[in-house]
């Protein structure tokens, strides 16, 4: 036990003191936050840029239709020729020119309206101009049909389906997607952790082989202790890195956004509105929806979710990292690992894809159930299903328990196999191992 702690400590310190690890830990949040800040900044600059569009209206229909808007401001060019107008728009560096030709009928005129720009115009400007024209054309048509705007308003209807579950509770559209995203986040975290830190374990095993320290060490400790210590030490380093990332990225994002003058508090206040406060609002449809979302989010069984996450995370990580350790032991250098990596990555990828395509669509369908029971994908897929709860409308208890039992059995089996491969592999040099060769190792005493 003491020796295991020693190994864990050494592996942890070796990882944490490693220069590239430190650089990665410090730089990643800065890079991510810088990227977020850049995107936010660019979006802001983009929307702040005032675009000016000239309007050459030769018809009697569209006067006063093009007024100052959020997307652009409009300048009236009257009584000049089209060529001149184009020239001056070009010279002044305006965004574009709307040319409305002469005509008696609004339909015909509208058909002939053209928008001149240097490059293809952005969707929001185009949409806004089209909207304005549409609006005017409709107004004229309504007049021609002798329908007053009041009557028109009466006619307009906006329908939204109300969704209720069998026990009569109100439901909101998109909530199952939201839940799947939360579960997907957990699943994705598990996958990323396995891929990044599993590879660390593998590299560390290869390092011990290539520096030839391995034989000195396993004359003092059992190979299994070394393998376990390595996996645990590396994962502790990984958890340290993740925690640093999450905290520093959070702080930095908050800092940068407030420096850039974006009200972070505004989001917070909105999110923190108490149900009572909500009711005092003049409840509109959208606030009702927010209320429902909040209710649904509160109803997600966070306790179960977090306990299950820890369980699936640890077992899943231990299974995969022992496979990684065995691969590291079987090869002499990293280039030889390729042939073994594919079968390891495949179930992880499968878990993520099946998760995003099938579980989002139907969290309790047969494919989702199968993959959340299969132990190599269950840590990812089950995490995606769990936000809808356990029992009742959620994941049936028997599925959760079966999945965990399968996972534990697989864990014991894989670790047993991996330890055997590891024990033989670390002392094998100069042999390019094949699957057949490794199968033989399993039979060594």
């Amino acid at each position: 036990m003491d020796k295991l702690l020693l190994i864990i400590k050494r592996e942890y310190m070796a990882k944490v003191r490693n220069k590239s690890f430190i650089v990665l830990t410090v730089l990643s949040p800065i890079i991510i936050v810088a990227m977020i800040a850049l995107v936010v900044y660019l979006a802001k600059v983009n929307s702040e840029e005032k675009r000016i569009v000239a309007v050459l209206d030769e018809s009697p229909f569209f006067s006063h239709q093009f007024t100052e808007g959020t997307e652009a401001s409009y300048i009236d060019f009257s009584n000049i020729s089209l060529e001149k107008a184009i020239d001056s728009v070009h010279a002044a560096g305006y965004y574009g020119l709307i040319h409305i030709p002469e005509g008696d009928k609004i339909d015909i005129v509208a058909d002939k309206i053209q928008f001149y720009t240097k490059e293809s115009p952005s969707m929001d400007i185009l949409g806004s101009i089209e909207g304005k024209i549409e609006h005017k054309v409709r107004e004229f048509k309504l007049q021609a049909l002798h329908i007053s705007p009041e009557v028109m308003n009466e006619l307009e209807s906006n329908y939204e389906m109300r969704i209720v579950n069998f026990s009569g509770e109100k439901n909101v559209k998109g909530i199952s997607e939201l839940k799947a995203f939360i579960g997907g986040g957990f699943g994705y975290l598990i996958m990323m952790f396995i891929i990044i830190y599993g590879a660390f374990v593998m590299r560390s095993v290869i390092e011990e082989k290539t520096t030839r320290i391995i034989e000195v060490i396993i004359s003092s400790v059992r190979p299994f202790q070394l393998m376990l210590g390595k996996i645990l030490g590396t994962s502790l380093a990984g958890i340290t890195q993740f925690v640093i990332w999450i905290i520093s990225a959070g702080l930095l994002t908050y800092g940068v956004l407030s420096v850039m003058g974006i009200e972070v508090d505004a989001f917070h206040n909105q999110a923190n509105i108490s149900p009572e406060a909500m009711e005092t609002f003049n409840t509109t449809a959208s606030q009702d929806t927010i209320q429902l979302y909040v209710n649904e989010l509160v109803k997600i069984p966070w306790g179960t979710l977090i306990i299950c996450f820890l369980l699936y995370f640890s077992l899943g990580y231990l299974i995969y990292s022992s496979i990684y350790a065995a691969i590291g032991a079987a090869v002499d250098n990293e280039t030889d690992t390729q042939q073994f990596m594919f079968p390891v990555i495949t179930p992880l990828m499968l878990g993520i894809y099946v998760g995003f395509f099938s579980v989002f669509e139907n969290p309790h369908g047969p494919i989702a159930v199968a993959f959340s029971l299969f132990p190599l994908t269950s840590p990812i897929v089950m995490m995606m299903r769990l936000p809808s709860g356990v029992g009742g409308a959620g994941v049936p208890w028997w599925q959760l328990i079966t999945s965990i039992i399968f996972l534990i059995m697989t864990f014991l089996f894989i670790v047993w196999i991996a330890a055997k491969i590891y024990r033989v592999g670390i002392l094998m040099y100069g042999k390019k191992p094949s699957y057949k060769e490794i199968y033989k190792w399993l039979k060594y005493k």
Partner: protein, 308 residues
Amino acid sequence: MANLLVAQNVSKSFGDYTALNNVSLEIPEGTIFGLLGPNGAGKTTFIRIINQITYPDTGKVIFNGEDLKSEHVQMIGYLPEERGLYKSMKVGEQALYLAQLKGMSKSEAQKKLKYWFERLEIGDWWNKKVQELSKGMAQKIQFVVTVLHEPKLLIFDEPFSGFDPINANLIKDEILRLKENGSTVIFSTHRMESVEELCDHIALINKSNKILDGKLIDIKRDFRNGTYEVGIETANPDVLKKELATKFTVTKAQFRSLGDELKLRIQLQEGHTANDLLMYLTTQGLVTHFVEVIPTANEIFIETVKRN
């Protein structure tokens, strides 16, 4: 003298390949035991079994009177042939880590390391990283780590590789001193001159089988065949040579001397003694050189392996 380590009928195979076939050995306490054999003979497998890195298929190993068990690793120090250190770790930290893995407390390890580092004049390496050291320097640290916990049994596999002659001599003296202090040493090497210098006992393993073992001096006695190197000043060397050839097996000898006497290697027949030969020679001329040819470990090694 008690045996520190006894191997009884140890066999080990990897798949179809037999690495050790029914090998039995006795290693007496307080001796230096040479484990010899051609490449791939099974020496490393045997050493790994003692270190409990692998386990025998059949047979057993008795250490210090008990069946070999995992607690015994603390009483064994092993310097493998393929050895290395963590490159990016500092020398001192690494030595401490390896010593603690052998069950020493941190403070004890620190104290002993200080002693050894001073003894081998490497005290100022403590904070260096291993990648800054030369191969020989790293070997010294590995040697210290092997002997630090004062094991009852020391196993050195090619301990002198990578050392310059001065440091090789230093390590040789340390090994002899460790033996004086009561340690038992298993010494595996291909350098026969160090076997001559150091080993009390040897065992020869070839193709997974033990083909020879015992006290080096006894083995040499068994391999002596009554051959003497002779130098003689005589008026008519050719006649003498012919004459000798009728009685003994005579070949030319190579040894350094000051004169240009006749140099011969003469093997006695059954029933003759060295005195018979010497007396005869004194009648033929002036004997300048008369010495028994003792078989070297090298010759024994080659002859035994070939005979097999």
